[in-house]
């Protein structure tokens, strides 16, 4: 049975969404005419490194939700689960170039990488660097695949790189700090139900009533393990243990955590997960600087969540707390 959605012609899904998004957030963003690009209302910011990103739609508020003061200068939106076009990315790079060059935060996926690569070739006049985020630990490092995916932890990279650029750092400095953040982020998710794409209208993944899938990707790509449904505490413990291990976190380390809803999971459930996460980290004497709880990187209407941890040092902590004003995240001046 096809699932009911609030939409019109599904092929207009992304452009209508962006129109609504721009109408709702005129003080933060504007849409570049005849593209699916959203940029800061005041882009380009003269003399500041532009920080941009792009990717398929269906992960809202990622990507356009993070465009604004202190975070992204712009984002290109592709069709649902589809990399944006190289031509949109080219325009994005050019529009966000305030003279100090542009850093692209790219999630580790061939489609995004191929299109950004072509785009940066086309935008030959802009000094360009890119960083590749690959925080999803549920993809093992076997040879047989495309490598770790970029998932919700990417939002921390947007935050860190955006703050660094706002402080006036150079392109290579912003890139280096973003790389440092990437090296210290790990994420893992769990799906309780499949996402349903607007055009297909049917579940992408066939999860039975009592199954869950650990390590699922944000497009419904399979994860590491299907198991019987478990309690929130058990799920949280399993994911947290793996993420902590991947980052080699030890007593005395400090982290910022994210409990990210995949789309159809209520905020109350996310807080139940946050509670157990906090207890586990506490039990390991890992300091929790903050927990971001909410929908940051969704998979359409998938039920489930992901947990991301970013290990902090003094620089990253300061950049994380740096004021920001975007549709999805606002941190006021202290």
């Amino acid at each position: 049975m096809a699932k009911k959605k609030l939409h019109n012609d599904p092929t207009e899904y992304v452009s209508e969404m962006l129109e609504g998004f721009a109408a709702a957030n005129p003080s933060h963003v504007r849409r570049v005419d005849e593209t699916d690009i959203v940029v800061r209302a005041d882009a380009p910011v003269k003399g500041k490194v532009g920080v941009v990103t792009g990717g398929g739609s269906g992960h809202e508020p990622m990507h356009a939700g993070y465009v604004g003061k202190g975070m992204l200068d712009g984002a290109a939106a592709g069709a649902v689960f589809t990399s944006p076009s190289a031509t949109d990315m080219q325009e994005l790079i050019e529009v966000c170039d305030g003279g100090a060059g542009v850093l692209a935060v790219v999630k580790n996926y061939e489609g995004d990488i191929m299109n950004f690569q072509t785009a940066s070739d086309l935008a030959a006049d802009t000094e360009y660097e890119q960083v590749i985020v690959d925080d999803d630990i549920s993809v093992s490092e076997a040879e047989d695949r495309t490598g770790r995916r970029g998932v919700a932890g990417t939002v921390f990279v947007h935050k860190i790189a955006g703050a660094k650029a706002a402080q006036g750092a150079s392109l290579s400095e912003v890139a280096a700090t973003a790389e440092k953040a990437i090296d210290n982020i790990a994420s893992m998710g769990v799906a309780l139900s499949s996402c349903i794409t607007p055009e297909k209208g049917e579940p992408t993944v066939d999860l039975s009533a009592d199954e869950i899938e650990l390590g699922i990707g944000i497009h419904g790509e399979p994860g590491v393990e299907r198991t019987e449904h478990q309690s929130a505490d058990d799920i949280t413990e399993r994911i947290t243990t793996d993420v902590v291990k991947d980052l080699d976190l030890a007593m005395g380390d400090e982290v910022v955590a994210m409990v990210n809803g995949l789309g159809a999971t209520t905020q109350s459930e996310l807080y139940i997960v946050a509670r157990e996460l906090n207890r586990i980290l506490d039990g390991k004497s890992i300091a929790v600087h903050d927990i971001w709880v909410g929908e940051y990187c969704t998979s359409l209407d998938m039920a489930g969540c992901s947990i991301s941890l970013l290990r902090l040092d003094d620089e990253l902590r300061e950049l994380l707390n740096y004021p920001v004003e975007t549709p999805a995240v606002t941190i006021a001046e202290p």
């Binding site: 398929g56 592709g78 589809t82 076009s85 190289a86 489609g111 191929m114 495309t146 055009e199 992408t204």
Partner: protein
Amino acid sequence: MTDDTTLVVEAVERVADRLVAAEPTLTELDSQIGDADFGVNLRRGLTAVTETVKTDEFNGPDDVLDTVGRTLISEMAGSSGILFGKSLMEASDTVTDGIDYEAIVAFAVAYSDNVATQGDVTLGSKTMFDAIRPAVYALKRGQELDDVTPTQASAHAVKACEYGVGFTIPLRAKKGRASYTEWRSVGYPDPGAVAVLLILREIHDLVEQEHDETVEPSLPGDLDDVL
């Protein structure tokens, strides 16, 4: 427009129609081992292509293919859009002087090579490349041996492509979204490969029509009786 230009436009239109008609099947395949957007991406890209070839004026077949490629890059996007689109653009030079057997082979080689580079892909990765490269081999063989008619060469390419698609079925995906399905990708064909087969079948139909000759997809060393 020259005859060749008109022919390429017709080929593009027919291929577009065939793939758009197959959208549900392709989306279904991509949801078995991918993320369910492939057919949708194709339809969006090809609808734009159909629009463009209807309204634009072209000077030469290369211009047609270059324009189609550009359109796919900007309108289809995704992994498959940049692969199909950029490969068309890169290969379009090969048909500047018109469409003949020679040119078609050169085109196929250039196209196939670009997919490999762009996608960083080799055979056996369970991608469209597995369907493309065998067809290129079949075409190349005809050219090298010089003992086939264009329609026969085309029939060979289709058959080669069928084998390529069949080959993707037992493979474990190494590229694209499908790679994350790991062992679960085994047993399902790659949607990109299936799309390539549909393209070649449509072109074969056109070739048969142009040359007023019917040749079933086949290869000299066919194993149909054994398989």
